[in-house]
């Protein structure tokens, strides 16, 4: 157990830091910028990183990476996080979609798409979830019907991050409703700008619109856009989803340090709210959880660096961090007492960060697997407990009972 860099790791860290200092863009106040403006900055930075092979670092050199170790990847990310660079636009594409393309597309397709994605010129999204297929993704209803060499697609996807700025997407559809649900699915890649694709933002309870609905109306694509065999879509999707757990789960929002600062600045009759033992016990719990999660990620990195595949145990990250965020945000508002209801960023402490995270946390508990699904995953895939009783295994999809 060693927290210090090995000599090689230390040398690499210096290399990274030096490069970042020379190349990272100047800090910009993105709060005042529109999304297209930020996206432009992000694309430029992605191109710079790709040039120096500091993106997709663990990929082979032929694909634009540098064959780096997972630990080198961690080191890069640790160092980059000290710079205020635009982030997040490429994670799903490069983390989930493009690897799926690389695994299942023909050579021509790969040559066409991988390099532009790495350079940030084209962005990818993932089109799996549907209104009636959330936790049960394989229950999706969007239909693709064969017509000569083409497929004609009709239906609706939902919760698609970034669909409004994405260029391409991987799309999971039902090609056969007469067989049990997992067996009638097929995966394709599509052009998000094609006619027949309509993107509509979802208005979230938090006020923002980070996700979209995507409607398909007689979208026509060629069979060459298929990824994997007809009817093998579920197997292809599992490859995509396996990469999801590694991509999702980083903490978003204030943590124990911020609420500690809030408490210190909250005047009470006896001094400040940080002197309250009940608050202090909670603070200790939050610290232990947050630190435990951070250290668990280090353990995962160690496993990676030993060539082991990090498994479903990474599911614990989001269960803990999302629930902590909700609890901590609520406690912060309670600290402020009546004042806690104010969300005016000019007036509320810390620019209303806690009020915002209170409204965001419920989404975090759902997106990328609900608390309940993640606990099922831990129970079944880590602990080896039996799956839930399944009534849908051998039923033709079209005969399955449905609700709303």
């Amino acid at each position: 157990m060693d927290f210090n860099d090995s000599p090689e790791e230390a040398a690499f860290r210096i290399e990274v830091r030096t490069w970042l200092e020379a190349n990272a863009p100047k800090k910009v106040d993105t709060k005042k910028m529109s999304e297209p403006e930020i996206l432009k900055l992000a694309k430029a930075w992605q191109a710079t990183k790709a040039e120096a092979r500091f993106t997709c670092m663990t990929w082979p050199e032929a694909l634009g990476g540098r064959g780096a170790t997972p630990i080198q990847n961690v080191i890069y990310n640790q160092e980059e996080s000290k710079f205020d660079v635009p982030r997040g636009f490429f994670d799903i594409g490069l983390g989930m979609c493009v690897p799926t393309v690389m695994a299942f597309a023909n050579d021509e397709t790969k040559q066409r798409f991988v390099a532009p994605a790495v350079r940030g010129e084209e962005i990818w999204c993932q089109l799996f979830s549907e209104p009636s297929a959330g936790s049960d993704v394989a229950g999706l209803r969007t239909r693709a019907v064969k017509d000569g060499d083409d497929w004609v697609i009709n239906g609706q996807k939902v919760w698609t991050s970034g669909a409004h700025y994405c260029d391409f997407g991987i799309l999971l559809v039902r090609t056969n409703p007469d067989v049990p649900k997992h067996k009638g699915l097929t995966m394709f890649w599509i052009d998000m700008k094609a006619p027949g694709v309509e993107v509509r933002p979802i208005h979230q309870m938090s006020g923002g619109s980070n996700f979209n609905e995507v409607y398909f109306t007689d979208l026509r694509i060629n069979d060459s856009q298929r990824l994997g065999a007809v009817g093998d879509g579920w197997k292809v999707a599992l490859v995509t989803l396996m990469n999801e757990r590694l991509a999702v789960g980083g903490s978003t929002g204030p943590n124990y340090a911020e609420i500690m600062a809030l408490a210190r600045s909250t005047v009470t009759e006896d001094g400040n709210a940080l002197a309250n033992d009940a608050f202090r016990e909670k603070l200790a719990d939050w610290y232990v959880q947050a630190e435990g999660l951070k250290l668990t990620r280090f353990r995962t990195m160690t496993a990676l660096s030993r060539g082991q595949t990090p498994g479903p145990e990474s599911s614990i990250g989001k269960i803990i961090s999302a629930n902590q965020l909700q609890d901590l945000s609520n406690s912060a508002m309670e600290l402020e007492d009546q004042f806690g209801i104010i969300t005016d960023t000019a007036i509320a402490p810390m620019e209303a960060a806690f009020q915002q995270s209170l409204m965001w946390a419920p989404g975090l508990r759902i997106a990328g697997g609900t608390d309940e699904i993640l606990k099922n995953i831990i129970a079944e895939r880590v602990l080896g407990l039996p799956g839930d009783v399944r009534v849908d295994k051998d039923v033709a999809f079209k005969d399955m009972p449905t609700g709303r």
Partner: protein
């Protein structure tokens, strides 16, 4: 011994639900939510006035119906269930209760009939910044009948006609009645987590202020008003919690995953059972508070604290797990889950945070123990 609403009270409650089913749908609530310029639903406010609810607990001599507080609790439960976007709590639980508790005969005679008639919106202004206001940090000050200071947040402060304001006078804390349309009052509507309930910052610079209750009793009277409001708010919270459980159940029964309704999975079943248990414990504590409030029992402070703690916890749990039960749909603006999630925080903070009430509860236990 009888520990439930009477048949008459049940009838009243049922009538209230019918009225709100028609006049306070989610569309009514969303009209206020989605329009930043709208602080409340004026039509609903008028309708509620016409039903007589504003004066339900106001004596007949002052133009009210002269019913008991239990009847008011029954109405509160239905208002909470409907997530009503009106200044009912500020006007009835805070202002009217403060007047009935501490007002002179003249003050009661002047203001209570206006409240009962729906001619007046009230507000109760104590907070001046983040954290709990106390003797050491209270800044608002009255000199020669003129109030100076800043109150923030004041629930319904932007639409209120009359506010009760906590302020010092000659170094002694007191409560004061201030007409907000008068000179020396500047108001600014604030953005809040629950836009269906309006909140203002009010700056007073020499506004006319008339003392309500005895000099030096400002904090004691505030606590006494909070005790009364806490019981009534607990019923609003209870109504909201019950509604969340109902929504969660209805959605779960109708949502299918892996070929069967998600209401059949133990993760959902036990979550809903947990909601039910919390709601029932809150209901029992709220009923005891209603009794104590209604008969003016000595147990009111401890009963009010227990009711507030239990119902705040129940509504928080029910509102957040209702979102969770709805999955992705629950996180959308279009589905009503977030209305209750927001309201649960509004109600939990408006009379002071639950943690403050836990402390008050334990102080009452200590007092009882010492007695």
């Amino acid at each position: 011994m009888n520990f439930d609403y009477s048949d008459d009270q049940k009838f009243l409650k049922n009538e209230a639900r019918k009225f709100l089913d028609g006049n306070c749908t989610s569309a009514h609530v969303r009209k206020v939510l989605d329009n930043a310029d709208l602080s409340y639903d004026a039509d609903l406010w008028k309708g509620v006035g016409a039903q007589g609810w504003l004066g339900a607990a106001i004596p007949e001599e002052h133009g009210g119906l002269g019913l008991g507080r239990v009847e008011l609790c029954a109405i509160a439960e239905e208002l909470g269930r409907a997530c009503a976007p009106i200044p009912f709590a500020s006007t009835v639980y805070f202002l009217a209760e403060a007047l009935m508790l501490a007002g002179s005969d003249a003050q009661k005679a002047k203001w209570l009939p206006k409240i009962a008639a729906g001619e007046l919106i009230g507000a109760f202004a104590t907070s001046e910044g983040p954290g709990v206001v106390n003797a050491a940090n209270l800044q608002a000050n009255v000199v020669g009948g003129k109030l100076t200071g800043v109150k923030i947040p004041v629930t319904d402060g932007d639409i209120a006609d009359l506010a009760v304001v906590l302020a010092n006078e000659g170094g002694k804390p007191g409560l004061f009645l201030v007409e907000l349309a008068g000179a020396g009052v500047t108001r600014e509507t604030l953005k809040t987590l629950d836009p269906t309930r309006s909140v203002a910052k009010i700056s007073f610079s020499g506004a006319a202020a008339e003392r309500l209750g005895d000099a030096g009793e400002g904090f004691a009277l505030t606590e006494a008003v909070f005790d009364r409001a806490a019981v009534l708010l607990a019923f609003e919270q209870l109504g909201g919690s019950d509604r969340c459980l109902e929504m969660a159940k209805d959605y779960a029964m109708d949502r299918y995953a892996f070929g069967r309704t998600i209401a059949g999975y133990q993760a959902i079943k036990h979550k809903l059972a947990d909601m039910y248990v919390k709601n029932e414990l809150a209901r029992s504590n709220a009923y005891f508070g209603a009794w104590a409030l209604n008969v003016g029992a000595a147990e009111l402070p401890i009963a009010a604290a227990a009711a507030r703690v239990a119902s705040s916890e129940a509504f928080w749990f029910a509102s957040k797990e209702n979102v969770q039960t709805h999955g992705g749909m629950g996180f959308t603006w279009a589905v009503d889950c977030h209305l209750y999630y927001r309201r649960s925080r509004q109600l939990a903070l408006v009379a002071g945070a639950p943690k403050v009430w836990k402390e008050r509860l334990v102080q009452q236990l200590e007092r009882r123990n010492a007695a």
